[in-house]
Subunit: 264 residues, 3 copies
C-alpha cells in the first residue's frame, strides 16, 4: 500500500525543511528520540514545563506526546501543548506507553486522547487493546487471536477518535478505521532495545510534519523504522550495537536503500 515515490518525497522534505518536532516524552528515551529525529533530518526539541509548552507547540511542525514516565506535571503540560497544537491544526502523535499496566496510565491516556484529539496513536498490541472497549478486548483471551483482536481494537479506536491508529509488531498495522495498511520490514531484535517504539512515534511525527495525509505519514514512518531496524539487526553483535547502528542506518537511508529493502 506504500507508494515508494511518496515515501521518497516525504524523506526529501524532512531533510530539506528540518521540521521542528516538539517532544513531551519519557526520560528513558529522550536521548535516542532526539538522535533518531536528527538522523532522519528533523529538528527535535524536548520541553515539558507548563510555562513554555504552548509557545513551543505553536512554533513546532508536529507534537509528540509520550506518557512513558508520566507524572502529574508532565500530563498537565501534555494537555496544554496538545490543546494548542490541536487548535492550530498541527499533527499530534500520541504514544500510550504502558497503557493497561496501571489504572493511572490507562485513564490518563483516555483523558489525553479526549482533550487533545491526536492525529495518530501508535502503540504495541497490548497498549492499543488497553484503550479499547472491553467488549472487543475480551475476545483477545485466546492468545492465538491476539493479532486479530488488537487490529479490531485499533479499528474501533480509530473510528471513535478519528485518529490513525498504528500497532507495532512483527507486522505493523496502520488503520484509519476503514482501510488498513501494513509494514512488514523490521526485526525481532528491535524489541530488545529500549525505546524503539518511542522512536517510531517520533519518526512518524517527522513524516506527519511534512505530509498532510496522516495515514500515509504513519505508513512512511513505520516503513523507515522497519528498514533501518532490519539493516541494523543484520549488522549488530547484540543489543548495544543494535541501538548504535540503527541510528547510523537512519542517517544513511536513501532512495536506493528504500527501493532495495522495502517489502511491498
Amino acid at each position: 500500500m506504500i507508494k515508494i515515490e511518496s515515501l521518497e518525497r516525504d524523506l526529501a522534505a524532512i531533510r530539506q525543511n528540518s521540521p521542528l518536532i516538539h517532544n513531551i516524552t519519557n526520560y528513558v528515551v529522550m536521548n535516542n528520540t532526539a538522535n533518531a529525529l536528527l538522523a532522519i533530518g528533523a529538528s527535535p526539541v524536548m520541553a515539558h514545563t507548563v510555562e513554555e509548552v504552548a509557545e513551543m507547540a505553536s512554533i513546532a511542525s508536529a507534537l509528540v506526546l509520550n506518557i512513558g514516565t508520566l507524572d502529574h506535571a508532565q500530563v498537565e503540560a501534555m494537555r496544554i501543548a496538545g490543546e494548542t497544537a490541536s487548535e492550530l491544526d498541527k499533527p499530534i502523535v500520541f504514544d500510550p506507553v504502558g497503557a493497561g499496566a496501571t489504572v493511572y496510565r490507562t485513564s490518563t491516556c483516555k483523558e489525553l486522547i479526549e482533550a487533545c484529539s491526536p492525529t495518530i496513536i501508535r502503540g504495541n498490541a497490548s497498549e492499543i487493546m488497553a484503550l479499547c472497549d472491553s467488549a472487543v478486548q475480551t475476545k483477545g483471551v485466546d492468545n492465538t487471536q491476539s493479532a486479530d483482536t488488537a487490529l479490531g481494537c485499533a479499528i474501533q479506536l480509530a473510528q471513535q477518535t478519528g485518529a490513525i491508529v498504528t500497532i507495532s509488531g512483527p507486522t505493523d498495522y496502520i488503520t484509519d478505521g476503514t482501510k488498513t495498511g501494513t509494514v512488514k520490514n523490521g526485526s525481532p531484535l528491535m524489541e530488545k532495545v529500549t525505546g524503539l517504539g518511542c522512536t517510531a512515534t517520533a519518526i512518524v511525527a517527522a513524516f506527519a510534519a511534512v505530509n498532510d495525509d496522516p495515514f500515509e505519514a504513519a505508513l512512511h514512518g513505520m516503513a523507515v523504522m522497519g528498514i533501518a531496524g532490519e539493516l541494523a539487526a543484520s549488522k549488530a553483535e547484540g543489543t548495544g550495537s543494535m541501538q548504535v547502528i540503527f541510528l547510523d542506518e537512519l542517517y544513511k537511508l536513501n532512495n536506493d536503500i528504500i527501493r532495495k529493502y522495502l517489502i511491498l
Copy 2:
C-alpha cells in the same frame, strides 16, 4: 563460592520468564539500565509517580530503588513502592548513589532503608561506609585499610538491616552479615562508564526475581556484570564503545562463556 549450575539455572530462568523489574531510578542511567535488563532477558519498567508506583510494584517481580538524582517527589514514590513490595514479599534492591556526598543523600538512604527493608543493598565502598556507624567508619582513615574497613561496614549494615550488602570494586564483596562471598571478574574500565554500578543493581534485581536466596542472587548478578564487563573491556577502544559492547556481551552471555571466564 558461586555454584556455576545455580548461576546457569538463574540465567535460564530470567530468559524464560522475563521477570518484570520495576525501577525507580536516576535520570542519568534510565536508558542503560533498561537496555541492560532487556539484554539479560528481563523486562524493565520505569515508573515513578505516586499515582501508580504501588500498583506497578505489585505487578512486578522485583523493585529497584536508586537515589542517584533524587528529589522529594521521587523519594516519596520510592517509599510507597518499597512499602508495597515489602508487604508483598517482593525483592527490593537499593542503590545508595552518592551517599555521604550530602547530608540529604545520607539521611534519605537511612530513611528509605528503615521504611522499605531492602532485600539487597548495593553500592561502592564509600557509599556503604557512609551508611555505617561512625565507630566502624573512622577506622577507614588509613587508606590502605579502606577495603577492609568498607567490608566491616558492610557486615555491620547487613546485621543491622537484615539485607544482603554488596560492595562493588576491583573485587566485589557480598555479605549477609555472617558469610561473605566475592566476585573477581571485572575491569577498571567499568568505572569510567557512567552508571555501570546502577546497572549492577538492576541486574542483581533480575536475579533476585528468579532466586529466593538473595545472597546467591547478588553473587550471580555481580558475576554476570563482571564477566560482561571484562569481555567488553578487552574489545573496547575507549569508554564509548565499552558501554555499547557491554550490552552486546550481556545479550550474548551463555553457559559456555560463563564456564570459560568466571573466576572461582
Copy 3:
C-alpha cells in the same frame, strides 16, 4: 591563540585531580555529559534538588547550569547552586539551551545570569544572540552577516556580564569582551548528534576547574571538543557511531594527538 603547553598542562591536571563537576542539566544529555566528563578524566555528579544543591556545589570544583529541559523547580535549584558557587568563587559555566525559542527560556536565562554571575557562557549563535540587546541583534537580519552579528552580541554580553562568552559553530569564538580567540577544529557531523553542545559546556567546566583563567579554560575545552569530534567524524558510519567514537576519542586524547591535529 591556544598555547599547546597550557592545554597539555590542563589535560594532565584534569586526569590527575579528577575534579568534581556538579551538573544541573537537562534530561536529554545527562548520560552523555557524565560519560564525556569521565572520558576526559573528570568526576561528574548530577544533582538537582533544592535540598542538596548548595552542599553539592560547595564540594564541587565547578558548576554546570544547563536549562535544556528547565522547569520551575530546576531553575530554583540552579539559582541556589549558582549563588553558592559564586560566593565560593567556583567557576560556573552556563548553557542557555534554546534561548530565544520561548519567552520563558530567554527570561530565565537573563535571571540566572543576573543571579549567578556565570564565569563562562557557552551557546550557539542564535542562543547568544537571544541574550543580546535588540539593537545589536537586529543587525543580524542579513543572513550573510550572522556570524559577525553573533560575535558582536557575544562581545556585548561579555562586557555586560563579565563572563567569557563562547559561540559554538564551524569556527568557535571565545571572547572576554576585549580579546577574541577561535577554535577551528570540529566537524559538521557534531551538530547531528544531540547534546554535543551541552557536552562542550561540561568539558569547558572541567578545564575551568583546573585553570584559573576562564578565557584559556574555554579555549582549551572547545579545542578538545573539536579535536575529538573531528577524529570521531572521520571514523563514524553515521550519527550513532559518531556519538560512541566521540567518547572513545575523548578518552584516548593525549599530547601526541593534540600536537598532530590541533589547528592553530
